[in-house]
Symmetry: C2
């Protein structure tokens, strides 16, 4: 059994992904609050009850994609060469990130993020960000000498994620006119100050 992860796990993950995608599809199609959990479950081929076993609500299901992306981002930061500055590592990871976001999903992103005007979604999204901010701060902290002030990583992570958020918002509001990487760079430069 060379499968590092059992069939059970893989199937579960596949289902989770399917539910996520069903939520996404139905949302761009009908609008977030005209989609019932039942409809999503139906589209994903599971029962309403099972939906609750995977996600606590529609919001989580819809944002699952983004959460994965940011989780990847954190992992990337953690794996950057140790000699890099923290801020440099963050920027590098971000570049990698922007590349993977850009190519396929332009209008996809458009409608998705537009649906994200919804208060309930915005809230959940920011809560995710906050949770991952901790992880990001840890990843940053693990690459500095322990003599450094312990608040530095927290501040760095927060500044960085705020930049990301602002850049995304601007990108959307400019109707995806520019390359994501360009917008992100602009914001990061503005935020950068003395972090490098």
């Amino acid at each position: 059994m060379e499968s590092s992860v059992g069939l059970r796990e893989r199937k579960k993950e596949a289902t989770r992904q399917a539910v996520h995608e069903a939520t996404l599809r139905l949302t761009v199609e009908h609008g977030f609050d005209h989609v019932t959990v039942e409809a999503v479950a139906d589209a994903a081929g599971i029962s309403r009850r099972t939906f609750s076993n995977y996600f606590t609500g529609k919001e989580d299901a819809l944002l699952h994609g983004e959460e994965q992306q940011i989780r990847d981002l954190v992992r990337t930061v953690r794996d950057r060469p140790a000699e890099e500055t923290a801020w440099a590592a963050l920027r590098a990871a971000m570049t990698q990130f922007a590349e993977r976001v850009a190519p396929p999903e332009r209008e996809w992103a458009l409608r998705t993020r537009l649906a994200m005007q919804h208060p309930s979604l915005l809230a959940r999204q920011l809560a995710n960000h906050a949770a991952l901010e901790r992880d990001l701060a840890e990843a940053v902290a693990s690459r500095r000498s322990p003599s450094q002030k312990s608040v530095r990583p927290l501040v760095l992570a927060a500044a960085f994620l705020s930049s990301l958020r602002i850049a995304m918002r601007m990108w959307i509001e400019e109707d995806l006119a520019r390359e994501p990487a360009e917008v992100i760079d602009e914001i990061l430069d503005e935020m950068a100050c003395r972090f490098d």
Copy 2:
């Protein structure tokens, strides 16, 4: 009728405040998710249905206080003398803010913010912050020459509110050992870099 604001408005505001306080009281008493809207409405002397006319949910009602505080903060920033730097104005406003928060509500804050561990509350809180970030950015923008880059206020506001958030979290996690103003200053210094 010298009342700049009619009796109607004032009464409405009083009710809103009453509902907010009832929510707060019941929450510290029984825990957030053991409090029903009905109980709150009851305690505030209104019907369950009327509660919905004031707030969209328990979270909003509970966070109404904080929202007011930040709204005040924004107003204060707007009213700072025009010759001040943006960042200086923010710091000054913050000092004023911290003073008003500190004196009465120490354990109050403790239990309140502790209740804010609740995911649903955290989410709504952050959404509020995001909404007010726009206003704050505007307030900042209105005090600079229009030649400046337009993203600067956005970044400033975000950095500032992130600092506030981090400081609050640290303050809580240190069990209110230090003065709020002290913690806030520490974080702001760390974030400050070149903003002044």
